[in-house]
Symmetry: C2
Subunit: 437 residues, 2 copies
């Protein structure tokens, strides 16, 4: 049985539940939400009604109204017109005495997952029913924190004079080496999905000086870890007249601001998730690559300068440096062609990763702005400068020295929420197996 009574009905709420309080006793309100619970008690039925802002108790009495809620399923959508009154219930400071009960939409049981989270469901079942999973207050809290994180990032960068830009995601050449790009047919041409805004953001420093972008990017990598997605959200900045140490400081201050902002604004969300967000200690450790391989050597993991750090090495370093730390000055040959060398140690790059324990959150550095050097580096790395002609032209037009970084928003969200799997903090994650819903 499926029915809906939306026709000719005014569906506008007068109040979000979160804005109601016992002081509004006697006031008439219209609220709407989802029935979380439903208990008959003598001639009354009590509904627990939740909307995105809070939860309230509804008291239903009278033949007609009781008839309405008689067969009502949990998670159905109702609209209640009624008056605020004191409540005798232990869990509620006030309740709403229903004058009118309207069923807007009936939930059909059995539901694929328990939206209250009392019965735990596996991540795959939850993602397959993501819309319903968001009725679980733990899940909803993740995305409220995500919203506040984005808000804070934009505010901090705007306050520091960065302009938000949108660069193209459909690109004509396989930039940055071309590995792991999704390709598509663009009318009669071949195109690719951008895996970062790297080349565009560098060019933009020439005109806009300090820019940032927050957007989805794409990597066609068959990774099956808890920290890789094929579609991910990246926060990117690039700034003229800054060295790598300058943008590291911006990154550190940004991370701290995000933690402070979320700690203060997302109090209920922290409770729902059972976490306490605390501002990280500053300054973050700065560990050079040379220091890192020395530390690893002492732990019996022998590495030579130039060796890449594997997951096992990063896990060991994460034990030595728990929390946030910068891993700096990597061997130049491990870094992309656009990264600048140190002037006094040319095998070393002006680069850094921001780590949280073993997890890489961000990567950045000073960039080359001399096209002659870039061409040499492209050849060294087996790349064809002709493929980069469009990009390299801009370096003849007054390219300033510049630095920047990219920060994986989804990974940052796993750190903030203390959740391991990046799929939990993305609404509809994409990985090699998951393309639906």
């Amino acid at each position: 049985m499926k029915e809906s009574k939306d026709d000719l009905m005014d569906i506008k709420k007068t109040h979000d539940i979160g804005t109601l309080s016992p002081s509004m006793k006697g006031q008439k309100v219209v609220v709407g939400g989802w029935v979380e619970d439903l208990r008959e008690l003598g001639k009354l039925t009590f509904l627990t009604l939740r909307d995105v802002t809070g939860v309230s108790q509804i008291v239903v009495a009278g033949t007609e109204n009781l008839q309405q809620v008689k067969d009502l399923t949990r998670q159905s959508v109702v609209q209640i017109t009624g008056a605020v009154q004191e409540s005798k219930a232990r869990d509620f400071a006030y309740e709403i005495k229903a004058e009118k009960v309207e069923i807007l939409s009936r939930a059909i049981h059995p539901l694929p997952i328990d939206p209250l989270g009392r019965l735990e469901s596996g991540i795959d079942n939850r993602l397959n029913a993501r819309a319903l999973d968001l009725r679980n207050q733990k899940t909803a809290s993740i995305f409220k924190i995500r919203h506040n994180t984005l808000l804070c990032i934009r505010k901090v960068l705007t306050d520091r004079g960065f302009l938000e830009v949108n660069t193209p995601k459909i690109i004509g050449s396989a930039s940055e080496g071309g590995a792991n790009l999704f390709s598509l047919k663009y009318f009669d041409k071949q195109a690719y999905l951008a895996q970062s805004p790297q080349l565009y953001k560098e060019q933009l420093t020439l005109g806009l000086e300090r820019i940032f972008e927050i957007s989805s990017f794409y990597r066609a990598e068959k990774s099956h870890t808890v920290r890789h997605l094929t579609e991910f959200t990246s926060v990117d900045i690039e700034s003229a007249f800054m060295d790598y140490t300058d943008v590291m400081e911006i990154l550190e201050q940004l991370i701290v601001s995000v933690f402070e902002h979320v700690e203060k604004t997302c109090i209920q969300e922290q409770k729902n998730l059972g976490i306490e967000i605390r501002k990280p200690k500053t300054p973050f450790d700065r560990v050079t690559y040379r220091q890192a391989i020395e530390e690893l050597g002492k732990q019996g993991l022998a590495l030579s300068f130039g060796d890449d750090l594997l997951d096992s090495h990063l896990r060991k370093l994460g034990e030595i440096h728990p929390g946030f730390y910068f891993l700096t000055e990597w061997p130049l040959k491990l870094k992309p062609f656009y990264i600048h060398e140190k002037e006094d140690d040319i095998e070393v790059s002006k680069s850094f990763d921001l780590q949280y324990g073993y997890l890489e959150l961000s990567s950045g550095g000073r960039r080359l702005h001399d096209p002659v050097k870039i061409k040499a580096r492209l050849l060294e790395q087996g790349l064809d400068p002709v493929q980069f002609e469009d990009h390299l032209r801009a370096f003849d037009w007054g390219m300033p020295p510049h630095s920047g970084w990219g920060l994986g928003l989804d990974r940052l969200m796993t750190v903030l929420t203390q959740i391991d799997n990046v799929r939990e903090v993305v609404l509809y994650p994409r990985d090699p197996e998951r393309l639906f819903p």
Copy 2:
């Protein structure tokens, strides 16, 4: 001759030029920027130096410093260490007496376009040299206004309780009919680029109630007009417990807020563009489709109920209703399957477009939330409900009544900046011919 002297040099500015003033007389500063002009006068050379915040006069004297700027090309990047002093020049309230001049990057002439805009270049040449084009203050102003527009939109929607979300752009089924989708190979599967977040945002009202997204979307349409791009930025909202008239009001208030915000915060940018942004008159006209065809009939353009409005019709309506107006209550059969009918006139839909003259900026409406009705509409429109199974499942989980709209940000930017071609307000536009840079 190509050289760069960045090595071992501290490239950090102490001040943006826009923060300097005559009151800082005697203060030592380090500024960096691009040389716009260069004049020798006796034993002095005067540079006009611009950064993203402003422009200043630099006075260069002394053998060594004069030698540095002797062959300097315009648009080269320099860093100046010097002291603020009074200026006798008519155009400058102060100037900087250079103690040290450092050339960070030389511009190689001839440049592909005149970055000062004194010689006008065609849009194609400008887009091919977009980074340089951003040194034209008119162009830079467009993107400063764009940044402020985005800022204002996010603030208004956040203040009204909307959460920002990110929905996937790689989608597994050809939703909304499937016409004009870019397709790509997703490992061993077929995938598409999303042309809107429509289905996701509707589902999300079930858990998050009020959500918005600002993102790039994709349309594989061979349009060659000044208002179509294949990659465009869309602002989308969706809200539970709202009817179409409610989200129309939100849209109207949002537009007004954007105009007010940009009017106040982008004063120099309006001067650069030679425009005056003024808050539009409210309320916007609400013209029903039936009224519109009546108005067109009086102008000799005979239409019957159900006929779509062509460009020529919209141009005529734009003459009758200049500026912003809503075109409402379109025939249901002209609207997508998810649009709700009017209860008292079932051939008519609860829908609207926001027009600016002939230009469609936004489209929205009340959505169906009864899956039985949606399935019937899908079949009517020749679509296969099986293709929408993933989506329709969510309608059994307590789907609230909901409404929303999508707003073309790039088109809104053309209205704000009073520029006709949407390519001007997008950094790296994509159309059927343009895939580079």
